[in-house]
Amino acid sequence: MTNHWRDIKNSDLILINGANPAEAHPVGFQWFMRAKLDPQRGPGNGGGAKIIHADPRFSRTSAVADIYLRIRTGTDVAYFGGLINYVLQHNLHHAEYVTHYTNASFIVKEGYGFTDGLFAAYDPEHRAYDTKAWGYELDEQGFAKRDMTLQHPRCVFQLMKQHYARYTPEMVSRITGIPQDDFLKVAQLVGQMGRPDKVMTIVYAVGLTHHTTGGQLIRSGAVLQLLLGNIGRPGGGMNAERGHANIQGNTDHAISWEILPGYLAIPSPGERTLDDYVREKAPKKLDPNAWNFFGTNYRKFMVSLLKAWYGDAATKENDFAFNYIPKPAGNSSWMSIYDQALKGKMEGVILSGMTATSIGPDSNQVLQALANLKWLVVMDAFPTTSSEFWHGPGMDPAKIQTEVFLLPCTHWIEKDGTFVNSGRWVQWKDQVIPPQGEARHDHWILADLFHRVKQLYEREGGAFPDPVMHLTMNYKDPLRPELDEIAQEINGKNLVTGKRLATFAALKDDGTTIAGDWIYTGHYPESGNLTKRREGVQDPQKNDPTGMGFYPNWAWSWPLNRRVMYNRASADLQGRPWDPKRPGIQWNGHRWVGDVPDYPPTMSPSDPKAWLPFIMTGEGTGRLFSSTMIDGPFPEHYEPVESPIENPLHPRVSSSPVAFLYDKAAGRPNRFGTAEEFPIIATTYRLTEHEHYITQQVPHLVQLQPEAFVELPEGLAREKGIKTGDMVRVRSKRGEIRVRAIVTRRLGQLDLGGTKVYQIGIPIHWGFVGVSAELFPEKSQHWLANSLTPFVGDANARTPEFKAFLVNVEKMA
């Protein structure tokens, strides 16, 4: 989230896409309701914030929304694109913000274009663009040329206007299935949010990310928010609801192939030195007034990380052990792991609190991949569909040569440390009870394993042992590091003074500082661990001095305890809040006050050299146009890989031209279905009573939701002769599930310019392990929702397309 949960109460208009917070994040949803029930909030003269829910399924979120839009899954770019077009056509954007705080004025170099569904510089053989063709026109100093009148035909503003002119209400309706009248009602409300005294938030979840266009679905919302001047403001922003307790913290610390802690890129082959790496990876300064804070300090953050990991073995002479960091050959994300296993190239997989089988996508293919491994380790508190895969559906244990280890681990309440919520609030938790049975902490298991591997290398030698030998283990007991010690390492310190640092501004690139993750520097300064702070709503007057809900002394949020990111953009050029009733930060004549400023605290707005507001980007502005996405500088609607219709905008380039097709590339048979055989759109989701798969081990929750089911719209059920409670078979090209039907008006038919389609909904929670599975041992063999989902993902992030695929449904005898 750019903002945070409590901040949603500051909004006038709440757009919810690809999310169902009332059911999936029910306690967070109280802040939506507080906005709705606050007469000060709302468009026009207030009267309460308005909630607009666009979702294939009418849920409890829709029930309290002011407008519910039944949208076809995966078409939110068309919806947001239509809103962008409406705002531009009616001149409703926030002009001062757009001119000065976005890259609207930047001039794009010649050669950029968009024709028949393809951006310039497409290579069909490799299904890839040369994204360098989408850059800015530069001056002699290497800065981007700008036209502050926004009239230049190649300035971003004009190109954007042209790009989205195709997204008319008619076209939006034809793609999304949303009736034009409903869309226009929403557009009129959204159009009021470009006023400085109004603010809108967009809230989303994996209903946007789980698509082959996932990154662009989110970018389309962000572009709309920039146009309306709503990024950086309390009550605004682009807010992702995370789905697990600590996805946020563990993304920040880079349990992710493409990054190192603090969102530093993993180096690529060919980057021989730190200089090469920084040159390739750090953002470039593109405007004289851009601070380019990230780019400018990239090297300091990287050197401080290398010093944290390699200590005395990281010296100026050896480029701070830069070559100890592995450089991947190519994409190494979730699906790539199983793709490699299917090719016989992956020997071992360690799954810690994560089950490959249930997650999929294409669980049947994932089961085959697991059976191809030499060894599999499952570290968990409970058995999972992965630890038990070898006797799962269709598996013959005698034929599976995979060695499987199930290591009992402690879970959240048996250890301390922090969880980071969706709003980046880093909150410490106590160890409440001791480990059950012989369970051990995951990090103690890894420390012990690492120690044993290191001993083997000491005794026997082997492949490049240096990084193993020199990895720092500066803990009181290297086999049992305390999380408090690790937190201090993450925070970092000055090696000369020995003192922990209070800000990442103190990090250096000369090897005299360490920081395991620069964005967390300051969470554990010399004064102590700030994530333990507890000054909350017991005393709002004292603990929330601005009244904006920041509660600065409750826990700590990264970076530097800032509650709203990009908050320089919450004030105008002179430093006055766009809306004095809802200030983020403001200039008091001497310094910025309010939230922790995302800006130098004493830099005057009247200083001719004052930095532009978005200090992290090379432009110094928000990006309406971006060459950092591999599938286009502007978000464009592409159909899901499995879709019942051709793309109305450009039928010849219907789905993403750059999404990576694993099976095709590996020479495996096609596993995508056609609309002729599988005419029904399916999507997946979670229920209030369950969380993915772990809750299959919690009896009370199983009692509340005991058995797998599929939700079917009434019309479809009538056509198929299906009644609530019937057993049905749902098939895709990849597999099938056999579950009970619930016939409901929550789902319905969509009219896509004359083509009528149905969408059905499948909760993801069930499998062949857990309390339900023990109650229904036969039935549970056919419950894996992800046996239906396609093995393809977002062009940029490779997030699988769990949320849009084709199936057929039939009543079982």
């Binding site: 946020q248 082959p269 060695e403 919690v698």
Partner: protein, 194 residues
């Protein structure tokens, strides 16, 4: 009365006010205090936790008591009224967190399934850690690439993957990344993508 918050109520019903008679609450607090004596959290130790499910980040209060045999018993988990995130509220999952915290369904010792075997074997920690250390070294040695086909130094281990951590404490996650990158692992993933 109308402005009484849940927190005030908790304060009022705390030990120090046991002497109050008919209070502003409109009922006899002394009686209530007597009843409290039999509550299962009486005399318990209070700890702070965070809900382990979705990422709203609801604060929890956990009550434990040391049993005569020295063990620690978890008595109750409830929402923390001080939190600016949840203000004491919990959803069905958070409210049943007790059943996740202590469960007779837990795996309590290491299990090993040999190639081709049709059942688990209970084994010791030393057995699994030694065997796994051997596996990791063998895989690393077999699949480690120091220089790629183009002649670039890459120092990567291609044959093993690490995935997980959505329920790790952040510090554990950081440590896992440090260890895995130290081994040269490039296939690293967690729940954010899926």
């Amino acid at each position: 009365m109308a402005t009484l918050t849940r927190r005030d109520f908790l304060k009022l019903t705390g030990v120090s006010v046991g002497t109050l008679a008919l209070s502003e609450l409109g009922f006899d607090l002394a009686r209530a205090a007597e009843v409290r004596q039999t509550l299962r959290i009486a005399g318990a130790t209070q700890s702070h936790s965070i809900c382990p499910y979705c990422a709203v980040g609801c604060s929890l209060i956990a009550y434990t008591r040391k049993e005569p045999d020295g063990s620690v018993k978890l008595l109750q988990i409830e929402g923390d009224p001080d939190s600016p995130v949840n203000e004491g509220r919990l959803c069905p999952k958070g409210a049943t967190a007790m059943q996740l915290a202590t469960s007779n369904r837990r795996v309590e010792q290491p299990l090993y399934r040999a190639p081709g075997a049709s059942s688990w074997q209970k084994v010791s920690w030393d057995f699994v850690l030694d065997k796994l250390a051997r596996n990791i070294k063998a895989t690393r040695d077999r699949t480690f690439v120091t220089t790629d086909a183009a002649g670039h130094v890459v120092n990567r281990c291609e044959g093993m993957a690490f995935a997980g951590g959505a329920a790790f404490s952040s510090e554990e996650g950081y440590f896992a990344v440090k260890v895995m990158r130290g081994l040269g692992v490039v296939f690293i993933e967690q729940q954010a993508r899926v």
